[in-house]
Structure formats: structure tokens, C-alpha cells
Amino acid sequence: MRALTWHGKHDVRIETVDDPEIINPRDAIIKVTATAICGSDLHLYDGFIPTMQKGDILGHEFMGEVVETGPASTLRKGERVVVPFTIACGNCYHCGKHQYSACDNGLPADNQDIAQTLYGQPMSGLFGYSHMTGGYSGGQAEYVRVPFSDVGPIVIPDGVDDEEVLFLSDILPTGWMAAENAGIEPGDIVAVWGCGPVGLFAVQSAFLMGADRVIAIDHFPHRLELARKFGAETINFEESKTYDALMEMTGGIGPDACIDAVGLEAHGFFVDNVWDQIKASTFLGTDRAHSIRQAIIACRKGGRVSMPAVYGGFIDKFPLGAFMEKGLTLKTGQTHVQHYMPGLLQAILDGKIDTTFLISHRLPLEEAPEGYRMFHDRQNEVTKVVLKPGLAAA
């Protein structure tokens, strides 16, 4: 099959590799019809994520048609499914509590050592995201082997376009969980740092949960424009002082709930030196740990902070005093995708959530390396690249 493979910094290629096969009883093989490049894929592209190996197939946002099933899979050939980026078993204690991203059994036993050392306990597996998260081949390919296919993939009814449901795989549930973690109450003023895909879905989710006003913060004009389209007020932090603007806009109180969706693209497991590299060398990077500090300082007394943004290592100058003195609540975590998929699919079918607005570019899989290049170089207008293996190359 053809697949997008990683070879090093800014070096991804379309190559012919061995087709996936059924390995375990609960597996299914999916023929990919649509897959997206995630902001976190850019960290792989930039070479920031350790434990990558040459030839690894990338991609953790994908959907497609079931073409083969193991004896314990509940899927049927021909069904269309969206696959969650988290690989979770559905049987362990954590899955029983719907904490799917904390699944005990998604990672191969040998790969669990690294996460156990870094975090105290190993997390779930992820598709196409280094060997720390399992070393699973990802979805930017013609075919994917999907483990635990009886609990992960969600079946999509006929007549619904791929592009409407593709983001159930990651960024839509991640934005929704970010808003849920903010404990939004009717009448709330909610501030969202970062208008990437997750931030924009958090804006929509916050309104659906009853927020009175949502204030979105970014520096890309096009992305702020998208946030305004969903009814958000906006602050361009290059033009205004964020804290001052937030205080003025909330009558000196501060937002009731603050969502830090900057750098959320990274589903990764950074180590410290990698973290420092990112801070030093990316535009938003220096602001990255800053956004969580700013959220804590701006948040009203007794308010709530939600952090879908991924922090993999350690940050310094964390305003622990403000956090404690103001009595804030902080909730965070990798997304429990499987928990949110059914409700969000229904919300899409009911027309409550707009998903396709995000897609700026559609390319055949064969042109994926060009997709990475433009997503990396032109973040303002390239908001989301969808790859379609079935699309004829231009």
C-alpha cells in the first residue's frame, strides 16, 4: 500500500510499504477514505518528538471502510467508521470509568516503561505518534490495522459525508472535553487561548453548554475571523494586552472559565530539553507556557481553568500562589475520545455543530508531503488539510 512515512526533520515521504494484517482477534483493517494532518503532526515533522523511527507511518485522525475483521471484532465488512486516536481496550478499570486515554492495556508491555518512568503510570496507545505511544502505524495510509475495533471505531450512517464526521477522531471531542472541563454554567464568560481547531471547537462547545459570552485569543487574523463567525468576541494579542483587555471586557472581574488551547496540537510526550527547543524556536512557542500562566492570572476568583493544551514535561514560574489564593480549579487530560463520540455524532447529525468550516485544503494522499509543507509554513490560511487516498493526484 501507499503510506506517508517519517524519515527525519522536514522529511516525510509517500512510499510503498507492506499492507497491514490482522494480528489480534479484536483487530479490524480499515481502508482509509479521509485522514487529516493534525497540528501535533507538525511536531513530528519538526523532529521534536523523541522515539521516532525512520519509516514510521504518521496520522491519528482518520476514517474509512472496514475491509477485514478479526474473529472478535464486532464490525462488519463494508461499514464506514471513524477511528479514535486513542487506542483503548474497553475492559480495564480506567476504561470502565470512561477514562479511555488512561487505558492500562493500549500500549504494548515493553513500550509502557518510558511513560511509566516519565509520568508514574503508562497511558493509552496512540496511532502514528512515536514509539513512546506504542509505535502503532498511523492513518495517513491506504489501510490501517485498528486494534480493539469492537470498542473504538464508531459506525457512521449512510448519507453523511466523510468531512462532516472525520473530526470525531480527535479535535472535536478534544474541544468539547476542554469546554466540559471548564465546568461552564449558563451566563458564564469564557476565555479561550488559541484559535486552532481545538480552540475553535471549544468556542462552539462553550456556547452549546450555555456560555453567555466567549472571548477568543490568537494572533492569526483568519483564525480570529473564524472564531467571530461562531459568535465569539476576539483579542489579537499582538495588537492588545491580553490581561488588560480581558479585565476591561469582564468589568474588572475576569473570565469565569479559562481554556488554554495553545499548543494543544501536541498529543506528545515531550521531555524537558525538547520542550525548551520548542519554546526557543517556534513563534507561539515562547508564549506557550505563558498561556497557562496568563489563564490563571486572568481567571476570576473561584473560577475554573481547563487545559487541553498538552504539556509533556515541566514548566517553570507556574503561578502556584495565584492558583491557590484565588481558589481556582484546574482540569486537564488527553481526550477520552470513545466517551464523547456517540453524543457528538448525534450533535453533528442534528446540525448543532459545524465541522467542515475548518477544512481549507483537500489533497490526494500522494501529495501529503506538500500538505505538511504548506500546513507548516502558512498557518494563517491553512487551517486544516484533509488527505484522501481515493482522490486522483493533480
Binding site: D19, C89, C92, G96, N105, A109, G134, P147
Partner: protein, 192 residues
């Protein structure tokens, strides 16, 4: 009991290993001087876990380095285990204590390539399932240097016990052992 720590921390977590003073709490006829302890919680009933484990022929399905276990009779079994450097070590093991659904203890017989003994405890843990604890004593071949070599090749018993217990958990909870292999050929290479 002499050698027991004054608090609740398990002996295998002691900063200074005192295995010689530690008469292997509950391991009768202790064989070996290096102690490995590891606990895992498995979301299945103790009786199910005990039954699967007690049929020693099942063990190679999750113990990666165990090439085969031949059940000789109700008490004794013959083990063949991969060792560093492509070698195989063998021994005959006998059950020294057994409480159905709760405990299996064993010790190797004289002449073992790697003298060892230990016990597996199955302790019900309410809605979390069962806490399975492995306590293993062994004499590493060539002492400390052999242990270091084994560690480099990741065949050190502490690493192996940790990973084997994870695989036991995966098999019992999910019905399969997690693998990231894309093809059956890759999977077979991983198993070595």
C-alpha cells in the same frame, strides 16, 4: 518475623536489599539471593486468574522469555527459558505451597541452571478486580556481572517480571496481548 521492615512497604522496595536476612516472607525453602517484587491489579476475579496461571502450560502465552513449560505431574514442571547471548537455561520446579484462588509458591530443584523460588499471590480487590503480586528470588548466573549483562539485554528478571505481569493483565482483561506490529512477520520478529 526477622528481617521484616518496620512499616508497610514491601521488602522488594527497600533501599538496601536485605534478601539474606529476609527469609522470603512465605517463600518456604527459599532458593536464591536476589529479590524481585511486582504487583499489578487485574480487572478479573481471583479464581479465574488462579486457574489460568496454575495451568503452567499457559504461561508462555504471556511470559515472553519462557520457551516452554512441560508439566511433569501435579507438582512438578520442567522450564526452558531464554537467557542473554542466545542461550537457553533450564530447570525443574516443584510447588512448595498452594492455596486455591489465593497462592502458588514454587522452588527449583537441585541442579537448576538458575536456582530460583517465589510465590504468586492473588488478593481480591473489590470492584478493581484482583491484586496479583509476584515475589521471586533467584541466583543470577555469574552474580552481579551476569545480572548487569542480563539487564542490558532486557532479560533481567525484574524487567521481565514487570512486563510479563502487564502481558498477563492484557491477556486476562482483553483476551489478547497488545502488539503494535502491522504485519504478522513483524509480530513474529518482536517475539524473537
Amino acid at each position: 518475623m526477622s528481617g521484616q521492615l518496620p512499616d508497610s512497604a514491601p521488602p522488594a522496595t527497600a533501599r538496601q536489599r536485605q534478601a539474606k536476612e529476609w527469609p522470603a516472607d512465605g517463600v518456604d525453602d527459599a532458593v536464591g539471593d536476589t529479590l524481585v517484587g511486582q504487583a499489578v491489579t487485574i480487572n478479573r476475579p481471583a479464581s479465574e486468574l488462579f486457574s489460568f496461571f496454575r495451568d503452567f502450560a499457559n504461561l508462555p502465552s504471556f511470559m515472553e522469555n519462557v520457551e516452554r513449560v512441560e508439566v511433569l505431574d501435579a507438582e512438578r514442571s520442567r522450564w526452558a527459558v531464554k537467557a542473554p547471548g542466545g542461550k537457553t537455561v533450564e530447570w525443574t520446579s516443584g510447588i512448595t505451597d498452594e492455596v486455591p484462588d489465593r497462592l502458588i509458591a514454587w522452588a527449583s530443584e537441585k541442579g537448576a541452571d538458575v536456582p530460583n523460588s517465589g510465590r504468586i499471590d492473588f488478593r481480591p480487590a473489590g470492584d478493581r478486580g484482583t491484586v496479583v503480586t509476584a515475589t521471586i528470588l533467584y541466583d543470577p548466573p555469574a552474580g552481579a556481572i551476569g545480572r548487569l549483562v542480563a539487564k542490558i539485554f532486557q532479560r533481567e528478571p525484574a524487567i521481565q517480571a514487570r512486563r510479563d505481569l502487564r502481558r498477563f493483565k492484557q491477556l486476562m482483561e482483553t483476551g489478547e496481548v497488545a502488539s503494535a506490529a502491522r504485519t504478522r512477520k513483524q509480530r513474529d520478529e518482536e517475539k524473537g
